[in-house]
């Protein structure tokens, strides 16, 4: 951490967090993603000038957990709201935190155009392959054959289509400065995820355009698995379908050490 720590303190709850315990189910990696964002805001010293935009979905209450200003957007519209904020407060740091139903389904138009415009925003995209809050319906990211409450016989690609790989799709747009996919299923990948989140915020801080980190995440409750089984599912089933990697990194940001 950049803040001096008592001699023997190795890790402490980040200052970017409020005291409020999260409402997430035990073992849900939303909490890990939150923590990484809070750590990065603290390490970059930007908590104070950051404005978050919460989605509709499990993260609808994200505004309770970060010690920053926050607004709550209509379902899928977070990138549009963030655009409105950033355009009138260009010196602030603005980020959206969105799930796959919110970003990849109803919010497709807003995310694609925020990226195409090269809005200086950072998007944290949680891909857990289903609509968590409403009880586990099929999302655009649901894997073929995966059972959900709205694909009870498993997602049939013939009638229900194929998963959308957002990081790959958005990387075709010139307005994008940084766009990568990471996973939260083990310590190594969590470390890589944090580095990516740091670089995404650095991209915004440097005015290098739109930045997004897609994070493969778990939904133990709706998947009907234990938290530990869920991590395994991510590693064995989601990573192959949603390859981890850097899909677009602007030259300027390649120089930055995180």
């Amino acid at each position: 951490m950049t803040t001096p720590a008592p001699n023997n303190l190795v890790y402490d709850r980040p200052a970017g967090f409020t005291e409020t315990p999260t409402h997430y189910c035990p073992g849900c990696t939303h909490g890990v993603a939150h923590r990484l964002v809070a750590e990065v805001l603290e390490e970059m010293g930007i908590i104070d000038k950051t404005i978050g935009v919460a989605p509709v979905g499990c993260a609808v209450f994200a505004y309770n957990y970060f010690d920053t200003d926050f607004v709550e957007a209509p379902h899928g519209r977070a990138p549009a709201m963030a655009t409105g904020i950033k355009r009138v407060l260009p010196d602030r740091i603005v980020f959206t935190y969105q799930g796959d139903g919110d970003l990849a389904s109803i919010g497709m138009g807003e995310i694609v155009h925020a990226a195409a415009r090269g809005e200086n925003l950072t998007v944290i995209f949680i891909n857990n392959a289903n609509y968590g809050m409403t009880g586990g319906q099929m999302a655009p990211t649901t894997l073929p054959g995966m059972k959900t409450t709205s694909s009870p016989n498993g997602r049939d690609v013939e009638t229900q289509g194929f998963p959308i790989r957002m990081a790959e799709m958005l990387s075709t747009l010139d307005g994008v400065g940084y766009c990568v996919r990471r996973s939260l299923h083990d310590p190594k990948n969590i470390r890589l995820a944090k580095k990516a989140i740091r670089l995404a915020f650095e991209t915004q801080a440097r005015g290098l355009g739109f930045s997004m980190v897609e994070l493969l995440s778990t939904c133990p409750t709706n998947w009907g698995m234990t938290p530990v089984e869920s991590l395994k599912f991510v590693e064995e089933n989601m990573v192959p379908a949603f390859p981890l990697g850097d899909y677009k990194v602007s030259e300027a940001i390649k120089q930055v050490k995180a």
Partner: protein, 80 residues
């Protein structure tokens, strides 16, 4: 001879999700079945010596419930 460390698990935040337990390289963590948190979870704890303060438990913790310490003289950068 390996460094000695220790952790504090917050009853306020721990939900007993067990993610830290298989993650611990020293395999010194488990749920404390003798206690319930105010929210009714069995919290994680170290049940024997061997913690090195590597902070991997904190890195995987979804609830930022774990504070990690180490017997050392100089500040150590956070692992994550």
């Amino acid at each position: 001879m390996q460094v000695k460390g220790w952790i504090e698990v917050s009853d306020q935040y721990c939900k007993g999700c067990e993610l830290c337990i298989p993650a611990c390289p020293q395999a010194v963590m488990e749920l404390d079945m003798t206690r319930l948190t105010p929210k009714g979870y069995h919290p994680a704890h170290t049940f024997k010596d061997g913690c090195t303060g590597c902070a991997i438990c904190a890195i995987v913790c979804p609830d930022a419930a774990i504070t990690v310490y180490r017997e050392v003289s100089k500040p150590v950068p956070v692992a994550a």
